[in-house]
Amino acid sequence: MLQIEGWKRVLITLVCLAGILLAVPNLFYDRVERFNDAEAAIEAGVTTPEDAADAGLWPGFLPSGLVNLGLDLRGGAHLLAEVNLADVYAARVDAYWPEVRDALRGVRAEAGTIRRQESAGDALVVRISQPEGMAAAVEAVRGLAQPIQTLSGVGSTDIEVSGAGDLLTLTLSDAERARVDEQTMQQSLEVIRRRVDEAGTREPTIQRQGADRILVQVPGIGSAQELKDLIGSTARLTFHEVIGSTGDPEARVSADQLLVPVADPSRQGELRILERTPVVTGDDLTDAQSAFDQNGRPAVTFRFNPAGARLFGAFTSANVGQPFAVVLDGEVVTDPVINEPITGGSGQITGNFTVEEANVLGITLRAGALPAELTFLEERTIGPELGQDSIDAGQVAALVAMGAVVVFMVLSYGLFGAFATVALGLNVALIFGLLSLIGGTLTLPGIAGIVLTIGMAVDANVLVFERIREELRTAKGPARAIELGYEKALSAIVDANVTTFIIAVILFALGSGPVRGFAITLGVGILTSAFTAIFVTRLLVVMWFERRRPKTIEV
């Protein structure tokens, strides 16, 4: 009657052993972490003597997966950034201008002369001198539209063209905007990832959230501000021909020129008038490094790709004796005079940098420009000491909680209580094992979740034990009582655990950050506590019963 098949016993034991084995690395957290870092470095092909030494810290045949510590435990910075997607539209529309100009020249007979108008935002507006030729002009520009493939839209094109009076307006279609948005997000994610990786921090989390947001979490970084310095600037670098300079910020320039302020604070108020179309841009860079110039001032050296080198060489050859401007994120960093043609494809930017700024600029130029600006909606910095304090406090609380529950259980249920205690220990090991396996993140509320699980995990055991007590009273003999106890308590255990599990799923789906970490530990804790209560305790009880064959039992 009171039987568990042999294969089930083996399976239960194996699961427990696997859980313990997977949990063990967490007891030697620092050691295993260094081992993992060393392994990763060796795999990447860069080895230092320290890595080789660290690689010997942990036996390679043992599992080395660890529970990730959340930012609130490890310390670090958390940023939620919104990508200003609309930024990109203007640049996209701008790129149509040469084609539009050529197309309108083709219908000059009907439309007359054309002139581009300054326009706000993401529309390209052209005034034509013969409004009666508008239909032909619109027709000509529409000819530039490209069909785009979308899941829903059949026959949508990338641009929309309309004419009113003597003004022709070109805007991006909704389908094209959606496509551009998607591209911008992918590109932003990629650039942020590269910049964070370049800075050499470990295990950063860079995730897209929703339509236009990016979550960046970097453990171990000193403050959110450092992270913002790194990913906050778009780092759009362009080289322009200089047309003139002015001190009047309201100065009017033509539509194909730019008015850009000078970054150097000692030359505050100065502006440069530049050719709108850059000679070369940061996209043509292959490398950038922080360095020092011949006067020992911080500088950034860079190297162009062959196409960029050719363009820059041709430009400098044609403009010896003239200044050119290096513009970074809307400010003229430097505007040196070209002394001789620069054909080698490399150069140096000396602005008014600190060493730190030159460093960050080197990284951001290497990683590429962000396609759009970021707005920061949320930022959190947690110091590493605070996280360590929390871990310590959580450990103490967990041990005390465990001790109290064990004493309480043994006092109440004697030997059966001891069985439940063993199961409880296994339960905690399984939680850590499972979290390590799935790469779950432990957060401060997550520790609370584990402590809570310690309290609640005995619930299923209590349900069973109380039921066995009741069944014993109706005198059916111990074996039958134990069997009935498990059988009848099962429905309550299942209902109780399913309901809590539903809550954990909802928390996971809707929560973020620490709350999500809590949901994971709660959910994992429910699975493991149900497993230990239904299978492990039962196996222990049955094995004890088989060995002793007691005539009476006291629960």
Binding site: Q225, T375, T381, G383, G394, V396, A448, E554
Partner: protein
Amino acid sequence: MRLRLVPQETNFDFFRFRNATFGASIVAVIASLVLWLTVGLNFGIDFLGGTTIRTESAAAVDVGAYRAALEPLALGDVVISEVFDPTFAPDQNVAQIRVQAQDGAEAVTSDTVASIEAALQGVDPSITFPSVESVGPKVSGELVTTALVALGAAIAAMLVYIWLRFEWQFAVGAVAALVHDVILTIGIFSLLQIRFDLATIAALLTVLGYSINDTVVIFDRLRENLIKFKKTPLIEVMNRSVNETLARTLMTSGTTLLALIALLVLGGDVIRGFVFAIFWGVIVGTYSSVYVAKNVVLMLGVDRDPKSPDAGTQFADVDA
């Protein structure tokens, strides 16, 4: 010798004072709602937007000096409070500073943080900032919505699950108990002005899980007894079910509360609000399982005619 929280056989009449206890619950719920509406919750930056800065220093916290230092920055509403905790070292003096979201700023402004830090360092050069958190008004608005959706979704899911596994009267009873627990927790948070943030919502959801757990165990026994004692009046079957599960109820809340007390005392101040919400919820949840959920079922009555299409529960025997 075993520790017994309750005698082997109990026969308390749990429903003797059911009008009084149910009335008390209603009064408590109304009082909580009144507190919520008049005193209001002490929302954290998750829901209001703004910045919190935790300071730590070897020198004693001087709230007045901090306030005076921040006065010239014209930051609007600034709350400075000293934090005490038994886990702190003797020379660890911690304070929490909360600054409201700055007008007109859609996003987080780091200049504000930098100026606050500089001002405080002027008062106490040894001061450090173990944590700085800022939430922009745009995100905090969304967090409120998400939190409400999470609570609503959890309660709706419980309603459906209990309905499928038991009967609709049980589902209504269980959900009434859940709403009761949530409102009472909001009430105590309003009364004691404990910070109410995203973690508190997680705590509330956990309380829902615990409370429903407790309710379900007694319902499960009730379902069993309703089949066993077909002729006994409902109130007696219920009372019997509560008595039979009493030992378990007290054991489980006992162990859970033990664990929570350990966490409350030793877990550090950062999660104290979170743990307190669960602690309170376990107590209220245990009470409401008997005195709210069961009372509601008792009032609604249970259809015990096996021929009625509504009686019985088509999914009740699934797997268990």
